[in-house]
């Protein structure tokens, strides 16, 4: 029972210090997450968290990252409340994306609180980041 699960983890997870050496912004963020306890990074876990819906009180009772950004990272999104268009999240189609550490941290903080009702852990942020960047 345990064996296939272990293999799965080995296939999709990478140790946090050995990913994406071609991008300094991403790398330095990942290092700061490692310093706060993140270990393995896993893009599939990032995708799972991105699409997962979280219950909330208030106007939008089912919230997810995809509510505003959509599930397709290369497609433009739209703010659920204000309708304002949001540029695609994938750096492959939008070179402005994930280029500023402060900006990334600011939006992680706001959007995790709004979507999940709490701040994200370093581990969750690391997973989101590799999912968005890949």
């Amino acid at each position: 029972m345990k064996a296939p699960y272990l293999i799965f983890v080995v296939l999709v997870s990478t140790h946090i210090n050995s990913v994406l050496a071609d991008n300094t912004t991403i790398n330095s963020l990942l290092q700061s997450y490692a310093a706060k306890g993140a270990t393995e990074v896993n893009a599939e876990q990032g995708q799972y968290l991105w699409q997962k819906t979280y219950p909330a009180n208030g106007e939008f009772s089912q919230r997810s990252c995809a509510s505003c950004h959509t599930e397709k990272l290369t497609a433009p999104g739209k703010h659920v409340k204000t309708n304002k268009p949001i540029e695609p999240m994938a750096p492959s189609v939008n070179s402005q994306r994930l280029t500023d550490q402060k900006k990334i941290e600011k939006w992680f903080k706001r959007n995790c609180k709004w979507t999940m009702g709490r701040e994200c852990t370093a581990q969750e942020k690391a997973d989101f980041l590799v999912y968005l960047y890949k």
Binding site: G58, T82, N83, K106
Partner: protein, 187 residues
């Protein structure tokens, strides 16, 4: 004789009722005696790049001239719960944006349009929404709901730029109004 009297009574009443309506439709109702440097139909456009970035990411960057200083102060002290969204900023950025808003607020602006917004607000009232100020309501009271809340491309009056095509440039001129799905607005 009796009939004539009745008719003139009706005319008199109707006349009396319509006078305040005509008067309140007149823009001068919202003006004082002051002269403003900018007699245009607009408010100051937003040019500050920090403001555009921080306050224009979820919706258009509203001109500081659309609300008075008290309203901005109250809004800036509660960004963590900002109309049900989270717009919190680091302390330094929050301070610089607050300064910008206060220096250019409706009650301190020398744009005539901005002063109309601030003059319409009761002294003891601190509205957080531009779309709930009396002047705003007055200007929009003839627009049917189906064009606003019932219109998926507009959704609410908060989205000025859905109808005012040059709202981001600070212009609310009638010639620049296009209501999605309905087109130009003709009085």
């Amino acid at each position: 004789m009796k009939n004539t009297l009745a008719i003139s009574a009706v005319i008199f009443t109707v006349g009396f009722v319509t006078i305040p309506v005509v008067w309140s439709d007149d823009d001068d109702h919202w003006e004082g005696m002051e002269e403003y440097k900018h007699q245009s139909t607009g408010v100051a456009a937003v040019t500050n790049t920090v403001y555009r970035e921080e306050c224009g990411s979820c919706h258009m960057a509203y001109s500081p001239g659309l609300l008075p200083a008290n309203s901005w102060m109250k809004m800036m002290s509660g960004l963590e719960n900002h109309f049900g969204d989270n717009a919190e900023l680091d302390a330094g950025t929050e301070k610089s944006i607050t300064d910008l808003l206060l220096a250019n607020s409706a009650d301190r602006s020398d744009y005539r349009r901005a002063r109309k917004f601030s003059r319409s607000i009761q002294l003891n009232d601190t509205p957080l929404r531009i779309s709930e100020t009396p002047y705003f309501r007055h200007e929009h009271d003839e627009i049917p709901n189906r064009m606003v809340t019932g219109n998926p491309e507009v959704k609410s009056f908060s989205h000025c730029n859905a109808c005012h095509t040059r709202a981001e440039q600070g212009s609310f001129n009638e010639h620049d109004i296009r209501i999605p799905g309905y087109g130009r607005w003709d009085d």
